[in-house]
Subunit: 570 residues, 2 copies
């Protein structure tokens, strides 16, 4: 039986409890969201004393199941005012799984405490860490790995989280100890910081390396088959280990869905300077790494290590979204400058999507300048320094737009848009509108589906609602989205869970699990006051055609509502 | 029959229309709110092309009815995201009434145009006014009165409105030509500016001075009786013409409901330095004026003219709310400094309540300092200069709290609290929660009713809902709230409207008119996504006792909801 760790810094309490029966078959997002609706008042102030911050590996964290080491961070989001699950790679899910811990729940409010929560085979304790005050995630990783050993996992908040900013991340180190992985969206870093925890150290020394299923023989057989299926997928064979997510840059710009200059066009004229192909050239020239894995044992390796011109490490996990939001969206084509900003964001613990969106709006307002590399880097620096401009930018594009009087702001439920423009990517736009998370690209991956959907009425609503429920399941099992995407995955997940729990799981159970989690999250948002009026695209996107193809979003909101109403009845 | 003036700067169109039949018996707030729900999508972006800005005198504007020259400004509020009516004194309702204009409706979006809309007996026209770009309301008044004569009325936006800030006002000049009167709340100045209008000039030359009722004889008789009743009221006899609204300062502090240092206590230790009695001493010493009227013919004269130490005019209409929010709330006891800030706010066109609340939060965050007079004055200056700090402060306390990570923010529906703390003023707190306007002291005046209400369950909800509907009627008739407050007013209003329209109006009609307007506004907010979750006090106020009496708000939200649910059924 798994355990749940409850920590309240304001009371100084650390309790390791048995996982309650109602949560035994949940993990990751499903566990986090269910805990939140059961224990957190949806009306509470996200940074006040009544919110909780939950860190939960997926159900299969620590097992041999392929690509199942994602970790969920949950809480009420200060950015959206709704429920939030932000998902990350790294080595921490594996280690929490090995320790038998299904969830770490941080409670109470004590924003000045900033303790280290140390977890190992013997339990957990709070440790004073005054030396970490104001520290960036790189420094935190260095100090804590020196102190506790290089085998530990770390979840931490940088200075932007300490400043209680709405775009603060929870950073997770990868297998190199680099804080390149983030539960980035929705400002959960500020929720963690306001609970009084600066870092969580997960020390899995002296525990078995593999978590066993109840029916380990059947589990092993399913793993073997699923590994082969994943490896055979074209994108896993041909794209992800070579180009990673930046492999989408050229495609997105070509189909006019690549946000450029604060979402004023979908095609970046100098895309060849920041696309995946260019990145790979530079990585190879400079002795970086492609096909990099965020944890040991990954069979995809979508990540990368990007070095500077002198061949020194600059950043890891340099992603598509960052290349767009801190690149084309700011009219910046200098990939080294974008890499510098990516590293700074990793270090300070700030969401590159939210910050890039905010800077784009500030550029439209004339407070920053499009294409001004030095100005952009300086602005990123200010987010950690806590200047008024820095603090404003670290609040995300929705707030920047309000303060600077900008009408054209790409945000839903207060959360800035990822790097897809709904005016050409209708199905993805439908997900942005309807996910309880605010505009979120991980809530229902449909980026290949473009406006030709208009040929089939109802297509976008149906597809998005199905995908969103599917993602809820993946995020609960801990399954990386890059491994998935075909109907047979549902069957493999059913077989894996059947073997893991040694009880019958049918494909329908996998589907209904996701639907139930989605419904739980919708319910939380309804209780928090986020009704269907919050499930809408920004007004300007409905009326301003997107050059150069002059596309407009063409899905009827009423039609979308009808699909999500159905899902509410689950 | 009255007329409606529709102006769209983006199309260059100016149309004088007959008032549609459905609006003939409406005026002021009732007309504005009904127009908004009929013509404006509640989901629209407040500063986008689909919002409208409505300026409407009350039904009895321009008549001889006592204290009936209030003017309403309406639109969807950028600050609250809901419907907004902000109400002002001054001379403009009278002049619009004389011109037979029931509403000026500004449509379309053209934030760079900033035209003057000139209205006189012959019609209306748009005039280029490049000389007014960036001008403050004092300068606007000077320039326009020089150009068009000293008899005109003016509604204008200062630089804070031009910057499209959420606390920008629509300023109205008083009978001295001083822009001391404001439709201050909810950022309607930015809605006006984004419609492309910098100022509206109302020239009533060569029109009859008094608007006649259909049954003028009966109207005249009722006016005579009502005047006597108003003049006999104790506060009209003893308090308002001497002390004006600042006469409440000492009382509010004594009963521990006077927000001090960002709402951290309800009693200001140095209240004697900023109270009404002190103000009157200074006014008399320096040759200022008390018992001042905002328009010619007022029988109360609640206003004042406050001079500096050299006897030169500093500010007019120096009010209770300003003395608190820019005084005690900032730990400032220097009444001349507060007067200086009041003048600056009048000039720049920024709501003193919203700005004072924002500065209090910035002081709690350490960005400004409590009690720092020079720092405070400099910060006020920055709101017009458009520095990042100035722009942030001009966005109101709710946004300042989000950006600076402050938990203790006194705001409802995004609008900052007026100068009453609900932890002692329960009935007023109930109004703050439930008015569709966001925390608003003019939505249901109950400041004399303190926490002893707890003796009677249901008292606050019942009283507040009744008062709010009553205020809706007053704001539609154009009746100043200071004239009112007794049951017999309803009877006099029924008699006045009976004579004005020459048709039977019963007291029940007066009550149901207000209820219907309130319901219309609730409906708009529901459609805009502001459900009952937005009718709540800030979390910290529910848990933090208010020193020195350690009061807590004690009205059950469910009980409050039940009263406002009843009103929804009207």
């Amino acid at each position: 039986m798994k355990k749940m760790l409850r920590v309240d810094v304001s009371k100084g309490s650390v309790k390791m409890e048995s996982m309650p029966a109602e949560y035994e078959r949940l993990g990751g997002r499903g566990l986090s969201s269910t805990l939140l609706i059961n224990e957190v008042d949806p009306m509470c102030e996200p940074l006040g004393p009544f919110n909780k911050l939950i860190i939960a590996p997926g159900i299969l964290g620590g097992t041999m199941a392929p690509c199942c080491q994602r970790i969920s961070v949950g809480g009420k989001s200060p950015l959206t005012g709704g429920i939030k699950e932000a998902n990350s790679g790294g080595i921490s899910a594996q280690k929490l799984g090995r320790l038998g811990i299904g969830a770490v729940v941080l409670e109470g409010r004590d924003p000045k405490a900033l303790k280290v929560l140390y977890i190992n085979k013997d339990g957990a304790k709070l440790v004073d860490a005054p030396e970490l005050k104001g520290a960036g995630n790189y420094e935190i990783s260095k100090i804590l790995r020196e102190k506790y050993g290089e085998h530990i996992g770390i979840a931490s908040v940088g200075p932007v989280g300490e400043n209680l900013q709405f775009s603060a991340t929870v950073a997770f180190i990868d297998q190199d100890g680099v804080p390149a992985r983030h539960a980035a969206r929705g400002g959960l870093g500020s929720v963690m910081a306001s609970r009084g925890v600066k870092a969580v150290v997960i020390d899995d020394a002296e525990v078995p390396k593999v978590v066993k299923a109840k029916d380990q023989e059947s589990f092993r057989q399913t793993v073997k088959e699923f590994v082969a299926v994943i490896k055979a997928r074209p994108r896993v064979k041909n794209r992800l280990p070579i180009y990673g997510t930046p492999g989408l840059v050229a495609f997105a710009s070509e189909v006019n869905s690549f946000p450029t200059r604060n979402f004023s066009t979908g095609t970046f004229e100098r895309v060849e300077k920041i696309c995946g192909e260019r990145l790979v050239e530079l990585i190879d020239e400079r002795g970086g790494q492609r096909g990099h894995s965020c944890y040991q044992g990954c069979i995809i390796g979508c990540s990368n290590v990007f070095n500077d011109k002198e061949g020194r490490h600059k950043t890891s996990s340099f992603e598509y979204e960052t290349l767009c939001l801190l690149g084309s969206n700011l009219d910046i084509d200098d990939v080294d400058a974008i890499a510098e900003m990516d590293r700074m964001c990793d270090d300070m613990g700030i969401d590159t999507i939210e910050l890039g969106g905010a800077m784009g709006v500030a550029m439209e307002a004339g407070v920053l300048k499009f294409g001004d590399v030095d100005g952009a880097i300086d602005a990123v620096r200010q987010t950690a320094e806590g200047t008024v401009l820095g603090r404003l930018l670290a609040s995300g594009p929705a707030i920047v737009g309000k303060v600077l009087g900008i009408y054209r702001v790409a945000a839903i439920k207060g959360q800035g848009f990822p790097a897809w423009d709904p005016r050409t990517a209708w199905a993805t736009g439908t997900t942005f509108m309807t996910t309880p998370m605010g505009a979120d690209h991980t809530a229902g991956r449909l980026q290949g589906i473009l406006e030709f959907d208009k040929m089939e009425p109802g297509f976008c609503g149906k597809l998005s609602s199905t995908m969103q429920a599917q993602v809820c399941t993946q995020d609960s099992v801990g399954l990386c989205q890059f491994s998935d995407g075909t109907p047979e995955s549902v069957m493999y997940l059913a077989r894996l869970l059947s073997a893991y729990f040694d009880e019958p799981w049918e494909p329908e159970d996998i589907v209904s699990l996701g639907q139930k989690i989605f419904r739980t999250e919708q319910k939380f948002n309804e209780l928090a006051g986020l009704g269907k009026q919050f499930d809408r695209l920004p007004e300007f996107m409905l009326h301003e055609p997107l050059p150069p193809t002059n596309s407009l979003f063409g899905v009827d909101p009423a039609e979308i509502d009808s699909y999500f109403k159905d899902l509410k009845d689950v």
